[in-house]
């Protein structure tokens, strides 16, 4: 990216992750779950972190809000968060500041929408507790705010607010969680597999809702998913993760139509569409590497049709190529040729 441009875009970046590492202790050795990840999140954009199990996407998501489990550690890296001209490193926040950060700046909505609720508390109690923990205690104002949010997420406020979590369906609970996440008007919403456990028709509702809310309320959205179609549907930018690293990062159209990394290309070729034309699919041979005992060189090299001597020795770093598109691959030119050949 040219220097001047970087200067310009800096102003609208609200989150910058720099060389972030996350490791876990396990009986077998150290699991290197996230290895030197850097990216920026812009204002009012939707960023998708895409990867398969063991790619480190969920670990990265948790690390962004300092929710790494006890057995994990962050040996290196910075997470710079900006708001109103101020900036600070999330990794350096004390307990109290972190608690504030969690709801007021960056709210998260987790995968299993049932487990996120306390089964013996009514929905209203959940809202009340969250608000009280952050100093807003005017019952009337809070109730109005909650009612407003329920309407936003297309729930019947009267019916939902005094309900117990088990009285609501999976899709409804997911939407309640969304409303709860938005309660303190955060700048960033972080979602982990937001639609995985939901049925297709419910998924559709949640997707449309997320898109509309983001446009109306103007927050930034990061979501972690294994589902390529969700990224295609919702994201402005997509980051593909493999073995703890972002291997490709770019505009959603670039990622899907002009992928430069062989792994991204492989994923796209492996996923069928329903209403598109019938086409032959191809799978990626082999399986993901062991995060405890990583091979040398590029971590995808064992499964990559383009790999050569250099790939086996050296690990490529994420490098920019043209507007808003970067890739960690020595062979990206060949990959793009292949993709064009497939189109022709």
């Amino acid at each position: 990216m040219p220097r001047e441009r970087e200067q310009l875009t800096k102003s609208c970046e609200i989150l910058s992750v720099e060389d972030l590492w996350v490791e876990y202790r396990s009986p077998r050795g150290t699991v290197k779950a996230v290895r030197g990840v850097s990216f920026d999140l812009h204002k009012e954009e939707t960023l998708a972190l895409i990867g398969e199990s063991g790619s480190g996407k969920t670990t990265l998501g948790m690390a962004l809000i300092r929710m790494t489990p006890k057995s994990g550690s962050v040996p290196r890296g910075r997470i710079i968060y900006r708001r109103d001209g101020e900036m600070y490193d999330v990794l350096g926040l004390d307990k109290e500041a972190l608690r504030k950060f969690h709801w007021q700046e960056c709210a998260m909505v987790f995968q299993s929408s049932l487990n996120a609720f306390n089964p013996v508390l009514r929905i209203w109690d959940h809202f009340h507790d969250t608000a009280r923990a952050h100093g807003r205690v005017s019952q009337q104002a809070l109730r109005e705010r909650a009612m407003h949010l329920f309407k936003l997420v297309q729930l019947d406020p009267e019916r939902v607010i005094d309900a117990f979590p088990h009285e609501l369906s999976g899709g409804m609970r997911q939407r309640v969680l969304l409303a709860l996440g938005l309660l303190l008007d955060p700048q960033i919403l972080l979602l982990d597999e937001p639609t995985t456990a939901l049925d297709i028709l419910t998924q559709r509702t949640v997707i449309d809702l997320l898109r509309r809310l983001r446009e109306e309320l103007g927050f930034s959205l990061i979501f972690v998913s294994h589902d390529l179609s969700l990224a295609a549907e919702l994201a402005n930018r997509v980051a593909t993760m493999y073995a703890g690293k972002i291997v490709e990062l770019g505009d959603v159209h670039d990622i899907f139509y002009r992928p430069r990394h062989p792994y991204t290309l492989g994923l796209i070729k492996a996923v069928p569409t329903v209403t598109g034309a019938f086409r032959e699919l191809a799978s990626i041979p082999g399986s993901p590497p062991d995060l405890v005992d990583l091979p040398s060189g590029c971590k995808f090299q064992e499964r990559c049709p383009f790999a050569d001597e250099r790939c086996r020795k050296e690990e490529p770093e994420l490098e920019g190529m043209g507007a808003n598109h970067s890739v960690a691959c020595f062979k990206w030119r060949q990959v793009s040729l292949e993709k064009e050949a497939a189109h022709a």
């Binding site: 398969e52 199990s53 297309q154 369906s169 899709g171 049925d199 297709i200 028709l201 419910t202 998924q203 559709r204 509702t205 997707i207 294994h226 589902d227 390529l228 179609s229 969700l230 990224a231 295609a232 549907e233 959603v252 159209h253 899907f256 139509y257 492989g266 994923l267 796209i268 492996a270 996923v271 069928p272 569409t273 329903v274 209403t275 598109g276 019938f278 699919l281 191809a282 799978s283 990626i284 041979p285 399986s287 993901p288």
Partner: protein
Amino acid sequence: MSNAIVQLEHVTQRFAWRGKAVQAVNDVSLSIAEGEIVCLVGESGCGKTTTGKIVAGLLKPTEGRVVFEGKDVWAMSPEEFKHYRRAVQIVHQDPYSSLNPVRTIYKTLSAPLLRHGFARDNREALAKIRELLEIVGLTPPAEFINKYPHQLSGGQRQRVSVARALTVNPRFIVADEAVSMVDVSIRLSLLNMLTGLKEQMGVTFLFITHDLALAKYFVWEGRIGVMYLGQLVEISPTPDLIEHPSHQYTQALLSAIPEADPNLTRNKERIKLRSLDVPSLLNLPAGCTFHPRCPSYKEGLCDRVAPAPLEVTKEHFAVCHLATQSRAVQAGTM
């Protein structure tokens, strides 16, 4: 169909749940021909898994008949029933619960071989196991034979599950979401392996999934049946179902599915449902069960009268009042 290997005739399955009857499967009729590949799609709770279990003889339906090679399964002699059970195998969804964690791959595969005389002793069993592991793509077999399930990846476990099903030379395999818990990059090679079984060994497949895209890819040359609230609401050869869905529910599903293609998925025509809530199986709506959500339902008809199956085009059936109107003409000319 004369060469049908398995037929379900008006099969209904009810379960007791807290003193109430839950109708998991509701009057499903389905005939699957030898060598055919049929896919059941639907959302969770639509009864597709229960239907699969009924086909495999693991559940006795409350009403209706299950016919295997022309014989009523639940009226068979114990000997015949055993033969049927073995001929129809099931491959489960969860790679973490489908293999016994305390038994090695060898133990898991040798038990059925030895029990049913496909191998006379351990040496023969070992040879046969090597062969099976090769077929399911676990090569070299020696690397897998003495392993425990936890030493294998999810995809490899699913392959062992398939190998286990193959030990008894089945003629029919029910694959219940067999690839949905496996990573995208590995999913496809597993599907291709299954397709290979169909071609090489002539195995008939009932493939159960919630993923229409996957169903389309896997059963392009077969038929897809769509289930909703325990009913088979539409069934058709795959291309026709995808291109000309007749049931309102199928149309809604197709329009709702997010696609792994930004332009395609963002420009899809959306069908807006009247209600987001799925009715409870304990209290099914009268008439057409989809009518409370159906965008184009007709008052006085859809909420009163249950629609009958209609052959929209050749071999394409839909259970929908509106299908009658929209494509009846075509049906008449066929």
